[in-house]
């Protein structure tokens, strides 16, 4: 029998840190010296997934760029809760301009840095799902097309949360928002609408596209670091649960991101030049119901009685993702 060394670290890489690993194998977030790009005192709601996702992603980008980085931010929760004038929670160079133009501002900064010969300073542009898939879509598509040297990060909480939970192009079917009420024969958002931005980004054949969730920190950090190793247009789409808009318990933020991935509803993968290169496999598969039930935006699927037909249609979406991306362990690599 061939000799196989045992590598087993109690919690492996699932937790943030691990005292059994050497320093260089630990996550950015486990370090006492992490940048804390987003610092204390910000006004995000309890259990905000976006605040968490932004700190995870930007701290990793700071480390990858050697702390040489500028960030352009679209309008949205992330901008509002961090910078109510005259306070700021940002501990990195950060600029806000408009709702729809963060990709364009990022492009401009990259061009200016190139003109000044400061190639070592990297640019990140970021927005929520509204600023990405709806309002900022044109500038973003342009940035992809021109292959500008910007990493664009979308923090997707699946609606316009800042303005009062209105539907966006990223709102999933059957979800209730302020503009897709849970009334009528097909309550909530319609099936067959909305956009899948990661796939659209891949269609632009840009160097790097990836999806991630706040439940898998190591994966998210790896993808940000990898994205920073490329030049040209790159896109990372991070699922960030919103307790306010989703009607979930603040303490459930990470659990819900995990269930989104484990049910197959949110496929976690990476792609280079338009081709999927790796997927994060489902570890313990769960039916979509487990993901839907703790969220009040799906309450109408369970009360007064279970709407098995609609739940079945959502399960079909998950099943399609599973077969399309090969998300289960048994699938060949």
């Amino acid at each position: 029998m061939p000799f196989q060394p045992i590598k087993f670290y109690q919690t492996g890489s699932f937790v943030v840190g691990n005292r059994l690993l050497s320093e260089d194998q630990r996550s950015v977030q486990s370090s006492e010296d992490r940048t804390n790009s987003l610092t204390l005192g910000h006004r995000a709601c309890q259990g905000c997934g976006e605040a968490l996702g932004a700190r995870y992603a930007l701290d990793a980008a700071m480390r990858a760029s050697g702390n040489q980085m500028v960030v352009a931010n679209a309008t949205g929760c992330l901008e509002v809760f961090t910078t109510p004038f005259p306070e700021t929670s940002w501990q990195i160079p950060w600029i806000h301009s408009l709702f729809g133009n963060s990709a364009a501002v990022g492009t401009g900064i990259a061009a200016a840095l190139r003109a000044k010969g400061k190639q070592d300073i990297r640019v990140v542009a970021q927005a929520g799902d509204g600023g990405t898939v709806d309002i900022g879509f044109g500038p973003l598509s342009g940035m992809f097309e021109r292959n500008d040297d910007v990493l664009f990060i979308c923090y997707d909480n699946e609606a316009y949360m800042n303005t009062g939970v209105q539907r966006s192009g990223a709102t999933p079917p059957a979800a209730r928002t302020a503009t897709t009420d849970a009334v009528g024969p097909h309550p909530g958002e319609d099936f067959g609408k909305g956009k899948n931005l990661p796939l659209i980004a891949m269609a632009h054949e840009i160097p790097y596209v990836a999806t991630a969730t706040v439940a898998e920190l190591r994966d998210l950090e790896y993808k940000v670091e990898k994205a920073m190793s490329f030049h040209g247009a790159r896109y990372i789409h991070v699922l960030v649960p919103c307790p306010l808009g989703w009607g979930s318990a603040p303490s459930d933020t990470i659990r819900l991101s995990r269930l989104a991935k484990e049910s197959g509803l949110f496929p976690v993968f990476e792609a280079e030049g338009g081709d999927v290169t790796s997927v994060s496999k489902i570890r313990h598969q769960v039916p979509v119901e487990e993901y839907l039930r703790p969220q009040r935006r799906y309450q109408h699927l369970f009360r007064p009685q279970a709407d098995t037909e609609t739940i079945g249609r959502i399960q079909a979406i998950a099943d399609k993702n599973i077969s399309r991306f090969g998300l289960t362990q048994s699938d060949p690599e």
Partner: protein, 541 residues
Amino acid sequence: MERPFAITLEVGTSRHNKTGSWRVERPVYVDRLPPCNDACPAGENIQGWLYHAESGDYEAAWRKLMEDNPLPAVMGRVCYHPCQTACNRGSLDEEVGINSVEHFLGDLALDKGWMPEPAAADTGKKALVIGAGPSGLSAAYHLRRLGHTVTIYEAGANPGGMMRYGIPKYRLPREVLDAEIRRIEGMGVEIVLNHKVDDLATVLAEKHFDAVFLAIGAEIGKRAYVPAGESARILDAVSFLHSMEGQAPPLLGRRVAIYGGGNTAMDAARTAKRLGATDAVVVYRRTRDRMPAHDVEVEEAVEEGVEMRWLSTVKHADAGKLLLEKMTLDEKGMPVATGEFEELEADSLILALGQEVDLELLQNVDGVVVADGVVQVDRNMMTGVPGLFAGGDMVPGERTVTVGVGHGKLAAKNIDAWLRGTTYSRPERHEIAPFDMLNTWYYSDAPQTVRAKLDVARRRSTFDEVVQGLDESNALFEARRCLSCGNCFECDNCYGVCPDNSVIKLGPGLRYEFDYDYCKGCGICAQECPCGAIKMVPETI
């Protein structure tokens, strides 16, 4: 200061905004009692020593273990590990092989010659321990550690009590036992062998000692009346196992019947098999599931070819054969005779029907209460006589080595308090950490590592040790399967998952602190803590 129009606040960081005021619940770090620690009769801090073993610091792990138990190498072999039965990992995949890691640490310590921490400064107090079994040795060890002068009077020619004269060699090699006892002697404990105390009253009257711990065990095999013909050969299991130490083994014949369903019956049957019996048949009046013997013992006995005759009692013994009566169980599970008989060929019958305490030494002592054949003690392990404590098999409780070691430790703490003129009060027990309090997502999937067993053919014919130890990599793997239930193991999860950066990391070994100025009380840290070491408590107004 000059400020822009309509601006009342200074330009600056959001740190001015103390978001802690939003909170209605606050997270607090707690240490809960892991089920293994809760279940351990010796009161070991199992989670605590596994924590050190996880990082490969075996000496620290062993030292932590030695705080509670002076016989790890013995315990790693003979303990029936109730800790593993209680282990939360059993609800996930398989329980952690705690016993096998203890076995490994115990052997490693003997191998490396690690010595216990030096005893505390001499207190000038003298304690006497009567009986050098697990309970007496444990009490002596702990009393010596606390700085008292300890003498043990042992009736036998060698120390160890039931560990030597009751547990067969194939489960506990004598060199291991000797080495661990020598280590206790090395701390300055004096063991006086061949010194049977026949009259405790005289010893107490001499007042050579400030306190006495009585742990003489239960070494008399119970006899049940079995009508027998003149040439029937009947032995009791305790004397039988005792005679395996040094004396010429008794002649049993080819076919041996063992009457009883406890661990001693299994030990006797397995020993008989090794002495050359072709048939070793255990006769028990109830069924397997009602047998007091532990599962591992029964399984290993069956593997070695021991046969079981359930629902049977011995009615009559004659030369070469036994008359058995078949039994049935009533609705309460009690055996009832059926009147059906059968014969079993057997050259000898070994009775393993339990043991009794030899209480003769107490005859002239006033104030010791004896009930059901055992000595009654209060919760401080003291008998009715001030300064006279008792423990182990001679007091009420399960009769195992581990319970004995636990009694010894508890008695030592009480004797220590008694010698200092105070009373020992047990520290308050932490809340238990149940399985549903864990977030098991975070633990890597890993099945248990099984200790190799000696080949069955060799087990039937030799007294070589049956269960082999783990090697270093296996032991490390096994230790790392620990979930650290209810006790922080510094995984940094709370530090990472806080959306409000309100967890302060204090550095290796120092754990974390909450920054309540900013913590909004979302509860993600508590929900995502793998081991359930964070509790949410309502804020008071």
